[in-house]
Subunit: 142 residues, 2 copies
Amino acid sequence: MTQTSQVQVSRIGPDGMTWLDTVRFDSQGLIPAIAQNVQDGEVLMVAWMNRESLAETVATGRAVYWSRSRQRLWRKGEESGHTQTVLGLRIDCDADVILLEVEQTGGVACHTGRRRCFYRRLTDGVWQETEAPLVDPETIYR
Amino acid sequence: MTQTSQVQVSRIGPDGMTWLDTVRFDSQGLIPAIAQNVQDGEVLMVAWMNRESLAETVATGRAVYWSRSRQRLWRKGEESGHTQTVLGLRIDCDADVILLEVEQTGGVACHTGRRRCFYRRLTDGVWQETEAPLVDPETIYR
């Protein structure tokens, strides 16, 4: 437990648990987190959080995920500058999915340079791209 | 493969694969699917799909999930009547999350009788309910 998360877990909720203990992480200690653009409701991306990243997200108001490929905390925008300011967190009925209400810095959430990761739509039996990159991904990651 | 899905997988997409082969199911053969209300952009629920349920969803235009607890296909609304008409499907950059654009019959997506599963929001350090059930869940499931 980090110092910041200890601050956050001090209150007991209606279910008799701290907010962080209510969260049901899976067998690998992870929970999927959906980032939704608070301005237009667009679903930007889905990533995973562990307990530490969720606690840090709430403590700092910046989205922090757990990178499964790199096996470390992934502070969204740490390389690209495309941080996400978290204005609200929701949890579903089973407490096993997190929904983040975010403001997307730079308007680009996807590592491909597009505003969202869901840029392909099934049309006439094929996944067709519905939007082009706003920025060259080569220029995002140094 | 069912007869309906064979119809759906007949075209080859820009990535050289059928739309269904592009989808990256996890080690358990599942992929998370987000149902988003096409009218107001509200994220209603997240459930899981396997290959069969995804193929049937596309073939029928009705959301079909895979129930992990019951280990069987879950045709959304089969008991409650709260079906979901699927107007569009999107997939993310890693092809490991599906986003459904749905019309929610009855305006109730959650088994608790609420319009969406994300009815709890983190406020002052506790998960607080932001909306009440629209219908008594006891009356939904016979």
